[in-house]
């Protein structure tokens, strides 16, 4: 066995390797453009909370979860408390065209939060706050559902957003 030996690579195999590498660079570029060009971002650390008191502490927005108007008709913050096996509040009304930021946390086990037909989909982890913003351009009813197993009635855990024209 000699250390000078070069690795033998078949011509077709070399072409295949080059093509694979190009393909992967293309995928990475597409994802990067979507993330940094189009701004389709994933959740970032928002704040940490104590899941034992987050629903009762009067200073916690989740002791009074619900919708907060930032700019009427344009901008809203929504605080949602996830618990077995419901969201509080379970129904939200907003006007079409508004940009809505969701702040969701859990007071017990892990949950999921996915708004159907949007890019809002995240893990709800006790002790952490999950945040994403979405603009509802079309009027209609959007379900939000729990996508993480959270116990016996997990399948029933859902709510809805009514977007009025």
């Amino acid at each position: 066995m000699s250390a000078q030996e070069k690795m033998h690579v078949d011509r077709y195999e070399r072409n295949w390797m080059v093509a694979s590498a190009i393909l992967l660079v293309l995928f990475a570029t597409a994802v990067s453009i979507a993330a940094f060009g189009m701004g389709i971002q994933v959740p970032a650390p928002e704040q940490r909370v104590d899941p034992r008191t987050v629903a009762s502490d009067p200073n916690s927005p989740w002791s009074n979860p619900g919708i907060r108007e930032v700019v009427a008709g344009e901008k809203y913050d929504v605080y949602i408390l996830a618990k077995t096996w419901q969201y509080l509040p379970a129904e939200i009304s907003i006007p079409a065209g508004a940009s809505v930021t969701f702040y969701v946390t859990s007071m017990d086990v892990q949950h999921g939060f996915k708004i159907q037909d949007t890019n809002v989909n995240f893990q709800v982890v006790p002790g952490q706050v999950s945040k994403l913003t979405v603009k509802f351009t079309k009027a209609g009813t959007y379900n939000f559902i729990c996508t993480e197993y959270c116990g016996a009635a997990h399948a029933a855990m859902a709510g809805k957003i009514v977007v009025s024209p």
Binding site: D10, Y12, P45, D50, Q110, N121, V125, H154
Partner: protein
């Protein structure tokens, strides 16, 4: 590489056989619950008839996930690698007692974990995300299974060292080389889950800690969770690279590139776990993005594998008179159940890999996270690429170990095709349901948000599950009938180990040096995980008490 036959002692055959026995029993019980979940999706809820034996869909799902994804794989792999180590090195294990202790630890752990699961005291699924809290025996049992597999791995390492001493300067035989890398990867990968279990989950389940930090626990879990996939996959790759070519009458197309791919898997499979946490609140997007890029890079050795394996198969088929650009595929020995199962496994695995790229794609995952797309994906990878390959291996390995003739090879071929067809129907509809927004691991018939347009797909999930159930039943019949058959093999079972087209000894020496690769592996893990883990541990908040919510 010398391919002269080497005879494994009856005692070692017996030892390997016990691994397979536990694995196949786990597969049998675990697979019973798979179709039940599929049937629930289709609107045929059979779980209500299992009460009080099995209390819920979720208890069944826990059994399915733990037994199929963790127990079947780990026991089959440790057994198969015991075989490839002994046969590859052509020497017995250096310390058989050490391996026996490892195996017994795994069995004790399995029993310990199985008791609370069967008593509905650990209905936490195979991801067991805290603060959902199972009985302590569940955590201790699973930990013992992992520790036992470590001990078996140490037995392989000692055997390798002994072989190296006896054979200085000789190129490590490929099947043994791949086995050692698989076990090394496993030892490194499971550090995450071991730290999670020992510093948080076990003390917490015993009441010694007031709570856990769910975000930190998720991070530990996925440190292990993705390389776990390569622990499943690499033994299948050993078979595809070095054994399947022999079974189709060919040779290994490129020994050097196969070894190179294995090294890349070792280096790249751990530092990318955040791609399971793209939508976690507690991890900064920058880390997620870095792991996304690393995830794309581990796709490269998979592409290498695709080329080398298909080229080896084509070489074999052309040796047997295969002609044409695609026509050569007809010249493969499809009537050999071991070959048919592995070819079909590889074909579906290819599509699983493509779906995996979608999962890996950072923000694309916003559409897919925790939807039915995910189980749709991994039933093509671990559920078919790995499982159907292991089934294919068992079609020659069980006759080899028992000295019995495989019962009704035609039935075994039918089993492989039914798995293939059932999985296509099941997985295709799961992928589509996921894209439509259906959540995973949810009894959808109880969900209030199911639109009518999902119904036809949900029905197909059930049909796929039914076909898979039949396939599983045939597999068990073939295995049992072979095992209890009175008919000894008419001819000796040949162990399929392919020669390489080019003498492996001519490959570059750096393919057989361990230190640089292992140092690179550890360095990359420290770079990709160190800062984030340090931050999470520094800010640890044990503020989540346990919940029993099932």
């Amino acid at each position: 590489m010398s391919t002269q036959a080497y005879e494994i002692t009856p005692k070692d055959k017996n030892f390997i056989g016990w691994h397979l026995a536990v694995a196949i029993i786990a597969l049998a019980i675990g697979s019973l619950f798979g179709p039940l979940q599929a049937f629930e999706h289709a609107g045929w809820d059979l779980y209500k008839y299992l009460n009080p034996l099995i209390k819920s869909y979720y208890q069944g799902l826990t059994l399915h996930g733990v037994l199929n994804a963790l127990v079947w794989t780990t026991f089959f792999i440790t057994g198969f690698l015991t075989f490839t180590v002994i046969y590859g090195f052509k020497r017995p294990l250096k310390y058989p007692t050490l391996n026996l202790i490892g195996f017994l630890l795994m069995v004790v752990g399995l029993v310990l974990a199985a008791i609370p699961i069967l008593l509905n005291e650990a209905t936490v699924l195979f991801t067991f995300y805290p603060p959902m809290k199972a009985n302590w025996a569940f955590y201790v049992g699973l930990t013992l299974v992992v520790v036992g597999s470590w001990v078996e791995g140490w037995g392989f390492f000692y055997t390798y060292a002994a072989w190296r001493k006896e054979n200085p300067g000789v190129r490590t035989p490929f099947i043994a080389f791949g086995s050692i890398i698989t076990m090394l990867l496993w030892q490194i990968a499971t550090i995450g889950i071991a730290v999670d279990m020992l510093t948080m989950l076990i003390p917490w389940s015993l009441g010694l800690l007031p709570g856990v930090d769910p975000q930190l626990s998720r991070t530990y879990f996925w440190f292990t969770g993705h390389p776990l996939v390569y622990f499943w996959l690499l033994p299948a790759y050993i078979s595809w690279y070095a054994m399947l070519p022999k079974q189709v009458g060919g040779k290994m197309f490129s020994d050097s590139l196969a070894r190179f791919a294995f090294w890349l898997f070792l280096i790249l499979s751990v530092p990318l776990g955040f791609h399971h946490q793209y939508v976690d609140p507690g991890v900064p997007p920058a880390w997620k993005f870095i792991h996304a890029m690393l995830t794309f890079s581990v796709f490269f050795p998979s592409m290498l594998t695709a080329f080398t394996v298909v080229a080896s198969l084509e070489y074999g088929a052309r040796q047997n008179g295969g002609k044409g650009m695609f026509g050569w595929m007809r010249a493969l020995p499809w009537s050999n159940p071991s070959v048919a199962a592995q070819l079909l496994a590889g074909l579906l695995f290819f599509f699983g890999g493509i779906g995996g790229l979608a999962n890996a794609s950072y923000n694309v995952n916003l559409v897919l996270h925790n939807t039915a797309f995910v189980p749709g994906h991994f039933h093509l990878t671990v559920g078919t690429g790995v499982t159907l390959t292991f089934i294919g291996i068992s079609y020659w390995l069980i006759p080899y170990l028992t000295g019995k003739k495989l019962w009704q090879p035609k039935w075994a071929v039918a089993q492989a095709w039914l798995w293939f067809v059932g999985m296509i129907i099941f997985s295709n509809s799961m992928h589509i349901l996921g894209l439509l927004g259906a959540p995973r691991r949810t009894p959808l018939n109880l969900a209030p948000y199911i639109p009518a347009e999902w119904n036809s797909r949900l029905f197909q999930v059930g049909i796929g599950g039914a076909i898979l159930f039949v396939s599983g039943a045939i597999y068990l019949t073939v295995v049992a009938a072979t095992f209890w058959s009175k008919q000894p093999a008419t001819e000796k079972v040949e162990v399929p180990v392919a020669e390489a087209l080019q003498d492996p000894a001519l490959g570059p020496a750096w393919l057989d040096r361990w230190t640089p690769w292992v140092v690179a592996t550890l360095a990359l893990i420290v770079l990709a995980y160190g800062p984030m883990l340090f931050d999470l541990i520094k800010n640890i908040a044990l503020t989540s008490p346990g919940f029993r919510v099932w």
